[in-house]
């Protein structure tokens, strides 16, 4: 069993205890996670590494309540996920979490600006002008201030990923989950992304990032390896 070395951090937001996950593939269950524990505090930059198929994405899904562990429990602000209703779990994702995926997952028929406003469909409820202001600010922040009216198909990979980043940040989440955010980017864009994430974590946001690029390790403050021994 692996354990996060600095379990007893101060002011923990997210705690996972002894997470097991087994997928039923055919007759034989496939154990992907075998007892993972983790605690994340505001300002942490957690780096999860591991080879392909080690269960990094699966862990991330469990941490944000999109998937249920076979056994073990995840707590957010001290509330165990297993006691949350489906609606409460959705609200948690809407109000406290931000996501960056390996592939952009943008709506191709909407402009960059519309894509960034999409999270506000699911709360919090603020005025249209306030939404507009916050979206413009965040696009400015990621360096796409002039590209709000463009469509995703016309953007480069690095720009797309910055749009996704803006979408993840626009509701000012307390935890950012990033699943290989630099997977499709070149070196320069990757470092760009990491700088943005780092800046956020220094502002007090917890960042949980999956990567298999060990050269990015310098950005992390905490490390978790899922590699089988």
């Amino acid at each position: 069993m692996r354990r996060d070395s600095e379990f007893q951090s101060y002011r923990v937001v997210l705690i996972a205890t002894d997470i097991h996950k087994t997928f039923d593939s055919g007759n034989s269950g496939k154990e992907v996670l075998d007892g993972v524990s983790l605690a994340v505090s505001p300002g942490d930059f957690v780096m999860i590494t591991g080879t392909s198929g080690a269960g990094k994405s699966t862990l991330l899904h469990i941490l944000c309540g999109l998937d249920q562990p076979t056994s073990g429990e995840v707590f957010f602000d001290g509330n165990p996920y297993s006691t949350l209703s489906a609606g409460e779990s959705s609200r948690l994702r809407g109000e406290c979490f931000g996501f960056v995926f390996q592939t952009p997952h943008l709506l191709m028929d909407r402009t960059v600006f519309e894509n960034v406003t999409l999270p506000f469909c699911y709360g919090p409820k603020i005025t249209k002008s306030e939404i507009g202001r916050r979206c413009m600010d965040i696009l400015e922040y990621v360096g796409l201030g002039k590209d709000g009216g463009r469509y995703p198909a016309t953007l480069s990979g690095g720009e797309l990923q910055r749009v996704v980043f803006a979408r993840a940040l626009v509701r000012e989440p307390r935890v950012i989950f990033a699943d290989e955010p630099t997977g499709s980017l070149d070196r320069k864009n990757s470092l760009n992304m990491l700088d943005l994430l780092k800046k956020k974590s220094e502002q007090g946001c917890a960042v949980v990032m999956v990567t298999h690029d060990h050269s990015l390790k310098s950005y992390g403050t905490r490390f978790l390896s899922l590699d089988k021994r």
Partner: protein
């Protein structure tokens, strides 16, 4: 709640215009179904109004009796067929007593009516004293015919409204018809014509006729010593359908007995027409609306098919929405709203084209149509139900996606 509705309608709309042709076609399916229902109900409503108009014209508590065929007129086999006579009228009047009023008439069409140098062609009707009461038609100007006019056999008469306009005159005035002079003492209210189509009764246009005491007109035929009438009008002082039908049966029996068992009369009971028509109407409506409803269901299947295709393509998007905080209920609502947008716009154009279709049918086929207001509500209402019904399966399919798996899809 309202905010969510607003946001999701806008969002759903954007998702629908992504596949404009697909959305348009499935909306069109609904529109056709709604149009069919609106048109069918309009035809049905038109037929209903037609019946009501007929009843209105023939009289609710009225029985109309005319001889069957032309036996009275040609007189060749009058030995056997007796037609309707003054004798019949007296019999019915006596039998009725205070329960109603019976009147008889003889009629001649195409008579030239002369006023000074003007001549107009009209129908001359010879009437018995209670005729005005039985037909419920009275003067607009001048006076009604009174018993004295009948007793004294003076050539006093009443004129129909349009005939008076055509002749450009008002009572009292002297006119000439059939080689004799007469005085018009009263002008009748406008009443239109009897809607006798389909009843076997002869036509009568009140507004283009001249009404004189029967004894003063030269059109009375006498066969075998009996004065023949062209028909009889009986108005009963009762309104209950059952009683009217029962009295009608008795009058019929009375006359048949008086004619020694020969069924040579046509007794029309408008109330009965109404009842028959209503029954026929009901069956007709049910069949038509069922057929139209089927086309609406086909429209619903179109919506369902389109939604299933959309959802299959939008797996990742649904996953994304769940990640961003959409609950399953929101996803269900989102897709149902999409279905509603399609059915509502389909219904809107369906109602419009249904109305247009109704008038086209009226114009080209010649059926009476009347836009049925309940139909304008029922048809879109049914469409919305169909949308909800057929939309719920795809919507729940979408909501039951596992977000973690949906996100893994490439």
């Amino acid at each position: 709640m309202l905010y969510i509705l607003k946001v999701d309608v806008a969002d759903a709309w954007k998702c629908l215009v992504r596949q404009p042709l697909r959305s348009f076609l499935s909306s069109l399916g609904i529109a056709i179904g709604v149009a069919a229902i609106v048109a069918m109900l309009s035809i049905s409503e038109g037929a209903k109004r037609r019946v009501v108009m007929t009843i209105d014209s023939l009289g609710m508590s009225t029985l109309r009796i005319e001889p069957l065929g032309t036996s009275a007129a040609d007189g060749a086999n009058s030995g056997k067929l007796t037609g309707i006579t003054q004798d019949d009228l007296e019999l019915v009047s006596t039998w009725l007593g205070g329960r109603g009023s019976a009147a008889g008439y003889v009629k001649q069409e195409g008579v030239e009516i002369g006023l000074k140098t003007r001549i107009q062609v009209a129908t001359v009707v010879g009437i018995t004293p209670l005729w005005q009461l039985a037909e419920d038609i009275y003067r607009e100007a001048g006076r009604n015919l009174v018993q004295a006019d009948f007793d004294n056999q003076e050539n006093n008469c009443l004129m129909g409204n349009e005939l008076a306009v055509r002749l450009g005159t008002r009572p009292p005035v002297q006119i000439r018809y059939g080689g004799r002079a007469a005085t018009v003492v009263g002008l009748l209210h406008q009443k239109g014509r009897l809607l006798t189509e389909g009843t076997g009764l002869s036509a009568l246009d009140f507004d283009n006729s001249l009404f004189c005491p029967v004894a003063t007109v030269p059109y009375t035929r006498v066969v075998g010593g009996r004065e023949l009438l062209d028909g009889m009008v009986v108005t009963l002082n009762i309104v209950k359908e059952q009683q009217i039908l029962s009295l009608a049966g008795q009058v019929n029996q009375l006359l048949i007995t008086n004619h020694r068992g020969v069924r040579d009369i046509n007794l029309v009971v408008p109330v009965k027409l109404l009842r028959d028509a209503k029954e026929k109407q009901r069956i007709f409506s049910v069949i038509m609306v069922t057929i139209a409803g089927l086309s609406l269901i086909v429209g619903g299947i179109g919506i369902m098919n389109m939604m299933l295709a959309n959802i299959a393509e939008q797996t990742r998007e649904i996953g994304l929405r769940m990640v961003l905080g959409a609950s399953r209920a929101r996803i269900v609502g989102f897709y149902l709203l999409g279905a509603m947008v399609l059915t509502l716009s389909g219904s809107f154009f369906g109602v419009l084209s249904g109305i247009v279709l109704s008038y086209l049918i009226q114009f080209f086929v010649g059926w009476d149509v009347a836009i049925s207001l309940p139909g304008l509500v029922v048809a879109p209402g049914t469409a919305i139900l169909v949308g909800l019904l057929f939309g719920s399966h795809p919507a729940f399919t979408a909501a039951s996606l596992q977000p973690a798996e949906a996100l893994r899809q490439v």
